[in-house]
């Protein structure tokens, strides 16, 4: 049993190993995943925060820049306006107009030198373009007086595209330009997106005539959007660096806090859980965290769980130990049962062949049989079925079997045995157990079968063909006191046999839920001529009948055959038959000094049977039990007469002629003589000492 358990454990552990490995691999994977997830969380937070910071910094710096431009532009514009004004008012521009068209004021083109100065101005003020124009609101035309750019290459283009006096029609003139033409300063920007690039424009009035302050030239400056944006981005980047640094520091602090406050305790818990799962030392699996937060709560729950599991495991261990003990006990019970009821018994003696098998369905069954030679010439057989299964049934079975055997050995008759055993069991049977038992004793010399039945299934008699023999069924042992079980008897002829079995035979069920039944049983036994043959035939038939179905009830069969023997004579009740007896005795005990006396004893008995018993038949059998012991049994079916204990009146010599000497002679000649009445038969048994007395 121990071995088995270890083997099972090993199997179990082998089963566990791969899954445990998988589990730990999974755990490692999960650990990586967890770390990755934290990292991803941090990176995502960083990216989002950075983007948000950048966007906010950009918009802040953009707004700042625009404001700056706006606030600067007044000063710049004033400066530029003054310079342009100076240029025009310095008289350098006093030249005749290029057209004949009369104008009140004439603004001549600028000299290259001036243009260069204005270009430098443009560059230093971060303008992309700087130009002077006059506005014709009615025609929605503007006339360029000059256009300069901070970009020298662009200036070359502008020479061609926007020379002095270029008139350009505009679909809509920016608001601030109109305001400027009327001498008002409007700090709004307009946006241009044309061949000259993407720009923000701004206008400022250039008062040329103090008498008409609302008729002004317009000086306009345009800022390069791309450059502006570049500047804004640079500034935003510069501005966001401290934010990002602070952000990183914050995140690091957060990560540290998360690690310390959440990840580390979680890792501790998961490590404990893993060691728990791996079946590590369970005595020290408490976390005992004193934290007063959610993690602390989890830890407390874990501690509680681990305590509970420890308790469960202890319980399971106890149960397992108990179970192992029970199994061991069951196995011992099984071994004891096998010792008490062997799987197979075969006995072959003069006049007898016997065979019995027991095939229990479960560990310990309730069926039992017993068969043994009580003495040289008597074969005892017991077939029983105890109620229930398991240890209780086994103990009860042992009790019944032992009680019966003990009484069989003492030579008690079957019915007496069952009645006494029944009373014994009834007296001490708190569990209310009961058993059906069939007890029989076969005289292997005469073939006389004595039996008694206590509620057991009817036996089968085989005499070429198989037939049920249904004696008084009797009452199951253990149920009622004074069961009143009666004895029966029958005479087997040589070659005839009896088969005992339990209900596991007739109640065997095949895969189609059909009972084996009595007819199949008779069929299987038909034609059997020996005990082993009968038992094997029946067993094979049942096992075949079971087919693939599991045997669910014990299978117990016992058979005994009275085998033909030359030492046995079946006689008619006639004196002439004495010759056969004499012949047989001569062949069995020829050469013995007291052969005549033996014949004499047998004749006295046989003469009695013939003359007084009214018997219809008689059986004579003699057998050497040992070298110098001859046993003779004489059976008849006449009226009961016990010559051994019959009181013979003391006769005078003169009265001897009326008999009375025969029995006395028998008693003197035999070593032992005994009589019993079995059912309807008289059985006389004599033994002779052949060594000669």
């Amino acid at each position: 049993m121990k071995k088995d358990i270890n083997a099972k454990d090993q199997e179990k552990s082998q089963e566990l190993t791969p899954s445990a490995a998988e589990a730990s691999a999974e755990a490692v994977k999960k650990g990586k995943q967890r770390k990755r997830s934290v990292l991803a969380f941090v990176v995502a937070a960083f990216v989002i925060s950075t983007v948000v910071t950048l966007i906010s910094c950009w918009s802040v710096s953009m707004a700042g820049k625009m404001h700056e431009i706006r606030s600067d532009s007044s000063d710049k514009a004033k400066t530029v306006a003054n310079i342009v004004n100076d240029i025009y008012s310095s008289g350098l521009l006093l030249a005749p107009p290029p057209t004949d068209e009369p104008t009140e004021r004439y603004y001549p083109p600028l000299s290259e030198k001036r243009k260069a100065m204005l270009q430098a101005l443009c560059d230093s003020f971060d303008f992309k373009y700087l130009y002077l124009l006059s506005l014709d609101e009615q025609k929605s035309n503007i006339t360029y007086l000059f256009v300069v750019s901070s970009d020298p290459a662009m200036n070359v283009t502008l020479e061609k595209e926007r020379p002095y006096g270029t008139v350009v029609h505009m679909d809509s003139i920016p608001e601030s330009m109109i305001s400027a033409a009327h001498g008002k300063i409007n700090n709004t920007f307009w946006e241009d997106d044309n061949d000259f690039g993407k720009t923000y424009g701004w206008a400022y009035p250039l008062v040329m005539d103090d008498e008409n302050p609302d008729e002004c030239l317009v000086i306009a400056a345009e800022f390069d959007v791309d450059q502006l944006n570049g500047e804004v981005i640079n500034r935003a980047l510069l501005m966001s660096i401290p934010f990002i640094v602070i952000l990183i520091v914050n995140l690091l602090i957060l990560l540290f806090i998360i690690r310390r406050k959440i990840l580390k305790p979680i890792k501790t818990i998961s490590t404990k859980m893993n060691s728990f799962a791996d079946g590590g030392d369970l005595s020290d699996e408490r976390l005992n965290m004193t934290k007063n937060d959610e993690i602390g709560e989890i830890a407390n729950s874990f501690d509680k769980m681990s305590d509970d599991i420890k308790e469960y495991i202890d319980n399971i261990n106890d149960l397992t130990t108990y179970r192992v003990q029970t199994n061991t006990q069951m196995e011992i019970a099984e071994r004891i049962q096998y010792g008490i009821v062997p799987e197979r018994t075969e006995i072959s003696e003069k006049g007898l062949s016997a065979c019995a098998i027991e095939k229990p369905a479960k560990l310990v069954g309730g069926d039992f049989y017993d068969c043994f030679m009580r003495d040289d010439t008597h074969f005892c057989m017991v077939m029983g079925d105890v109620s229930g299964k398991g240890i209780t049934a086994a103990l009860f079975m042992v009790m019944v079997k032992t009680a019966i055997r003990e009484k069989l050995v003492s030579g008690m008759g079957p019915a007496d045995i069952l009645n006494i055993v029944n009373d014994e069991i009834c007296a001490t049977n708190p569990e209310g157990l009961f058993a059906t038992v069939f007890v029989a004793e076969l005289d292997t010399m005469t073939g006389l079968l004595r039996y008694a039945n206590a509620g057991h299934t009817a036996p089968v008699i085989i005499s070429g063909k198989a037939e049920y023999y249904r004696p008084d069924p009797g009452i199951t042992v253990g149920l009622f006191e004074d069961a009143g079980i009666v004895e029966g008897s029958m005479l087997l002829k040589p070659g005839e046999g009896i088969v005992l079995y339990t209900d596991g035979v007739t109640e065997a069920v095949n895969p189609d839920d059909v009972f084996y039944g009595e007819d199949r049983l008779l069929c299987a036994l038909e034609g059997s001529s020996g005990a082993a043959q009968a038992v094997n035939a029946l067993k094979d038939s049942i096992m075949e009948f079971y087919g693939e179905r599991e045997q669910f009830d014990d299978l117990t069969i016992l058979s005994a055959f009275y085998t033909s023997s030359e030492e046995t004579l079946t006689l008619k009740p006639e004196l002439e038959e004495m010759e056969r007896i004499t012949r047989l005795l001569r062949s069995e005990a020829g050469g013995c000094r007291n052969l005549m006396q033996i014949i004499l004893a047998c004749e006295e008995i046989f003469a009695n049977i013939v003359n007084y018993s009214e018997a219809t038949m008689s059986v004579f059998c003699c057998r050497r039990l040992e070298d110098d012991v001859l046993c003779v049994e004489m059976l008849d079916d006449g009226i009961a007469f016990d010559p051994v204990s019959a009181e013979i009146p003391k006769k005078e010599f003169e009265d001897y002629d009326t008999g009375g000497m025969g029995i006395s002679l028998v008693k003197q000649i035999t070593s032992s003589v005994s009589y019993k009445r079995v059912g309807t038969f008289n059985v006389l048994r004599m033994t002779f000492d052949l060594s000669g007395k």
């Binding site: 002439e576 004499l600 004749e603 003469a607 001897y656 000497m661 006395s664 002679l665």
Partner: protein, 95 residues
């Protein structure tokens, strides 16, 4: 069983050869009854008798009661044992 009878006036000799058992004992009885009525002395010769059973013994006792003088002779040791078992040898004239 062969029975040989020799009658000489009031005496007679009967010799038995074979088995004197239950079956043959009545033959001895019959043979004695058939003797002439004047025979009062009988000698039973058992020299060739191999076997005797209680029926034979009974017959011998009956003859003993019937005859004035009855002698049993030539009893083999085996048969003598049986006579002794019953004790009738003490009452019979055995030679």
């Amino acid at each position: 069983m062969n029975i040989e009878k020799t009658v000489n006036g009031t005496t007679a000799v009967i010799s038995l050869e074979g088995w004197l058992d239950t079956k043959t004992a009545p033959e001895l009885g019959a043979a004695v009854s058939e003797l002439p009525a004047e025979v009062k002395e009988l000698t039973l010769d058992l020299a060739k008798t191999e076997y005797i059973s209680s029926a034979g013994l009974r017959q011998i006792v009956a003859i003993h009661k019937k005859m004035d003088s009855f002698i049993v002779k030539n009893v083999s040791p085996e048969l003598m044992e049986i006579f002794k078992m019953t004790g009738i040898n003490n009452r019979l004239n055995m030679q």
